[in-house]
């Protein structure tokens, strides 16, 4: 059997591409606008989010048969919130600068609709290994958009990549200027809008 035909691969590739949480489902936009001014916080955010969504899926899926259905949302939130707080504590201990940049947005992973959505929609009705892979796929889908947007914003907004300046001085001497709007949240809106359009175009073209 080819790798691309296995169920695990489909579980991963679905959310990572065809059902991309940001571009196709328009979820998690708030944090995508806020943390994409520079690449480094965007990558840390993507990793934190991937960690939380995959492990919350794994834990919730493992408990899916014993969670009483009348309190399931609270249980899901308790799992998610605990994971987020642990992530936040680790960031504060080992990546203090980035955690200051991300400020409240690490804590706000709790309210990111992608995570609760996957817990409700996937983890509760699928076995743990698939749920974990689904989490990784969603993290990859979310993270890749974040990193791409951050790359564009940092490059055009401040002429840097990872804080290193990449636009040659000769460009500035010739009259090139950094785009101030790239540093503001509306720029991320525009980029995400264009990406959603591009992806919809590419996926519908395949089907025809």
């Amino acid at each position: 059997m080819k790798l691309s035909k296995t169920k695990a691969f489909k579980t991963f590739a679905g959310p990572a591409w065809t059902e991309n949480p940001i571009n196709m489902q328009m979820l998690g936009i708030c944090s995508a606008l806020a943390v994409t001014v520079q690449l480094k916080p965007a990558i840390v955010m993507a990793l934190a989010m991937t960690f939380v969504v995959s492990f919350s899926n794994l834990i919730i899926s493992a408990m899916r048969k014993i969670i009483p259905s009348n309190i399931r949302i609270i249980v899901e939130l308790a799992v998610i919130a605990s994971l987020v707080i642990v992530t936040d504590e680790f960031l504060r201990a080992y990546m203090y600068d980035v955690s200051k940049l991300l400020s409240v947005f690490v804590g706000l992973i709790i309210t990111n609709c992608i995570i609760l959505g996957r817990a409700e929609g996937f983890a509760l009705s699928n076995p743990p290994h698939l749920a974990f892979i689904d989490g990784l796929g969603n993290g990859a889908g979310y993270g890749s958009v974040l990193i791409f947007v951050a790359l564009i914003r940092e490059l055009f907004g401040s002429g840097n990549i990872f804080g290193f300046s990449v636009v040659p001085q000769a460009f500035y001497d010739a009259g090139y200027e950094d785009m101030g709007i790239m540093l503001l949240a509306p720029a991320a809106f525009i980029i995400i809008g264009l990406m959603a359009w591009l992806q919809k175009y590419l996926t519908t073209r395949d089907e025809v």
Partner: protein
Amino acid sequence: MHDQLKSIGFAIAMCLVCGMLLTTAATALQEIQEKNQVNDRRKNILLAVDLVSREKTYTPDEISGLYQAYISKMRVSPDGDIVAPGMAAPGQQTMPIYLYTRGAEIRSYIIPIESQGLWGKIYAYMALENDGSTIAGFTVYKHSETPGLGGEIDTQWFQEKFEGKRIVDKQGNFVSVGIAKGDVEQRVPETQQPHYVDGISGATLTGSYLSQGLKKSLAQYEPLSLSFRKNSLKCRMQEAQPWCETDETEQN
């Protein structure tokens, strides 16, 4: 009934497990986090007097090396006398002050600011030149303002505006420094412009709280600033007594 019991039991078990996990994580990492916070505060003190640059990253060792070489933490009485730590008379109220010294000269002094904010307290440092009236630098190291609006107080562009502003008017009276509503050049009369910095759009309340907080803190340290202004308390670091005495006391 049985279902309800099961739900309650499950909820209690869940609380215990999550609670244990979080407590373990918080206590295990607390020491490292506190070190980070101390280091961050020191870095902000150094930033306020331009000893480190915002563009570069520094290791904790570099920060503490610079801090120990140039910054000394002292206490100051409400009358503006500098006392070494532990030398205060019993029951005397003292406030912390950081001195930036080069050799025997005090270049500037750094006042810790604790201000009301919109959502929580704002913690900052304000460095003043040894003339006692010009701001050398301003840094915010902890706040809980809205990201993107009031949260902009921790950005470089906002903090740089404070440099060179004056806390006294031309006659030498204390006026503090405030945050204007909008652009200083448009909103503030020209005579008042040295005492105002540009405001942040969408953060009027944060600005006015911070203005009040700055005024309150600066007023508390005004006696000290006054002695800096009168006789430039700047070059009296003595080997045996690592704090300053003023000529003023002898002249009186």
